[in-house]
């Protein structure tokens, strides 16, 4: 299969590989996919007090397109607010990397990973913020 130069670059030099502590404050973790389907993506975001994503890291088990898609979104979410990050659509990822039609599901998975990470972050904040609100 012929892949675009951008895709190959992300595959060969993946950006932001690694992990944050799952329990850390300000970290949201999204894990999507399944080994049986051939891809599992873990995307983590570190959110600052101002609600802006300061940093992101990923680990992906999957094909070259899955690795490149997740590497790309770690770059894209940085500096965005949570709502802005949620606006990243799979079609933009697919377009940027020129994913072949059979690999579109990789971009969908990357979009899902962002949603899952944001949701996890918000859930964590919610459980911590709620008691304070009660006290007030």
């Amino acid at each position: 299969m012929a892949y675009s130069d951008k895709l190959l670059d992300h595959y060969e030099n993946p950006r932001n590989v690694g992990s944050f502590g799952k329990e850390d404050d300000g970290v949201g973790t999204g894990m999507v996919g399944a080994p049986a389907c051939g891809d599992v993506m873990k995307l983590q975001i570190k959110v600052g007090p101002d609600g802006v994503i300061e940093d992101a890291k990923f680990k992906t088990y999957g094909c070259g397109s899955a690795i490149a898609s997740s590497s790309l979104v770690t770059e894209w979410v940085k500096g965005k607010t949570l709502d802005q990050a949620l606006e990243i659509k799979n079609t933009a990822i697919a377009e940027e990397l020129a994913l072949p039609p059979v690999k579109i599901h990789c971009s969908i998975l990357a979009e899902d990973a962002i949603k899952a990470a944001v949701e996890d972050y918000r859930k964590k904040q919610g459980t911590q913020v709620a008691p304070a609100a009660d006290a007030a």
Binding site: P35, C37, G64, I67, D112
Partner: protein, 403 residues
């Protein structure tokens, strides 16, 4: 000097041996006659060349040259053998048996016969890839007319118990077909001893040209087939079509070389395979697929856990290998052969078939070992599954978010 990419996909195809190519060329340019031309010397010399090649093919497998029918390759041989015998003997019964790990040329031909009203049994192999003889016996029925089981598996290289299965079939009067495309030049084949009725051969898996193969059709006891290709009545009416003299000469020469050199060659290949296996199984969480005893030395099929197959192939582009079989590696499905062995999906996703051949060197093997160590390490650094396993998580207990 290493030439890249290093070719370790000899089970997909082999280069034509230069000695074979040299023998073929005059039959394209100078001696171009039609072997079926009876009225002049051009035809006579072509016919003589075809018959000499037929003898070379027969000698490799200890058969009579009259039992060899030229075809375009093993796929055609499988079609002719299976459809031809099933149709001819359908009056006796309409039950046919094969194994789930057969090549698509056999499985798809069985599907076609099912559409025509035959009933097929697809045996599950054991975990080591071999047919369970008790399960095989249990699958036989009074109306079973044909059994088709390959000699050597193309993906995992295991050698099926052909002699034993042949005895059982002969005793019950069932036609036994064997796809030997991956076996010639790798295992000794003695058709005088083996109770096999039909056997398919391919030239290009044994350093001959693509586009030529043969079918062995036993004469004693005589096996009858319904022709699948009709025309001028070539090959005693079993397969019409002008014979491709140059291809046939190439196959004959390739099989002659195989007969003369397979002893020494297999010993050398076994050494290389053992070296490769030792070097690769050094890597944590690797599993060899298929039995190690009943196996040709040319094949090493390894699963690298927690690393996905396609990304691994991309990472090791300096070596030409295949993930699953060449026919299925473009799809997203894990290998049906490994699935049939009961390997779970994440293992199936990361299997690589290394196949070693005549021109493989020790230097190439060493480069491959080093490359795999580096790239598996890199991909596992990237793998969330590897991270979880290292943290002590049992992946089978994880609730995955299926998409």
């Amino acid at each position: 000097m290493l030439k890249f990419p290093i070719y370790l996909d000899y089970s997909a195809t082999t280069p034509v041996d230069p000695r074979v190519a040299a023998r073929m060329i005059p039959w394209l340019t100078e001696h171009f006659g039609n072997p079926a031309s009876r009225s002049h010397a051009y035809g006579w010399e072509a016919e003589a060349a075809v018959e000499e090649a037929r003898e070379q093919v027969a000698r490799l497998v200890n058969a009579d040259p009259k039992e060899i029918v030229w075809t375009s390759g093993a796929t055609e041989s499988n079609n002719l053998a299976i459809k031809g015998a099933a149709h001819f003997y359908s009056g006796k019964g309409k039950h046919i048996i094969t194994v789930r790990t057969e090549h698509k040329a056999v499985l798809d031909t069985f599907r076609e016969l099912e559409r025509e009203g035959f009933e097929a049994t697809y045996l599950d192999p054991q975990e080591n890839g071999l047919v369970d003889l008790d399960a095989f016996r249990a699958a036989l029925r009074p109306d079973t007319v044909l059994v088709s089981i390959m000699f050597v598996n193309n993906e995992i290289g295991v050698i099926q118990p052909i002699a034993e299965i042949g005895e059982i079939c002969r005793e019950k009067g069932i036609v036994f077909h064997v796809d030997a495309a991956q076996a010639t030049g790798k295992v000794e084949i003695d058709l005088d001893r083996l109770k096999v009725d039909l056997m398919s051969f391919s030239a290009h898996k044994t350093y001959g040209p693509k586009g030529i193969g043969a079918l062995y059709v036993r004469r004693k006891p005589r096996i009858r087939l319904e022709a699948q290709m009709h025309g001028g009545g070539h090959e005693r009416g079993l397969r019409s079509g002008t014979l491709a003299t140059h291809q046939i000469v190439g196959m004959g020469e390739a099989f002659r070389i195989a007969r003369e050199e397979m002893g020494a060659e297999n010993e050398r290949i076994r050494m290389l395979r053992d070296r490769l296996m030792k070097g690769l199984t050094d890597i944590e969480a690797t599993y060899v697929n298929g039995d190690m005893e009943a196996r040709v030395p040319h094949n090493l099929n390894i699963s690298f856990a927690y690393v996905e197959g396609e990304s691994l192939i991309m990472a090791i582009k300096e070596v030409a290998v295949s993930s699953g079989s060449a026919c299925t590696s473009a799809s997203l499905e894990p290998s049906y052969v490994l699935r049939a062995l009961g390997r779970d999906d994440e293992l199936a996703h990361s299997s690589i078939r290394f196949s070693i051949g005549r021109f493989t060197t020790e230097e190439e093997v060493d480069f491959t070992i080093d490359l795999l160590h580096r790239k598996i390490g890199k991909l596992r650094e990237l793998s969330p599954l590897w991270e979880m396993v290292k943290e002590g998580v049992d992946l089978s207990t994880v609730q995955w978010a299926h998409h």
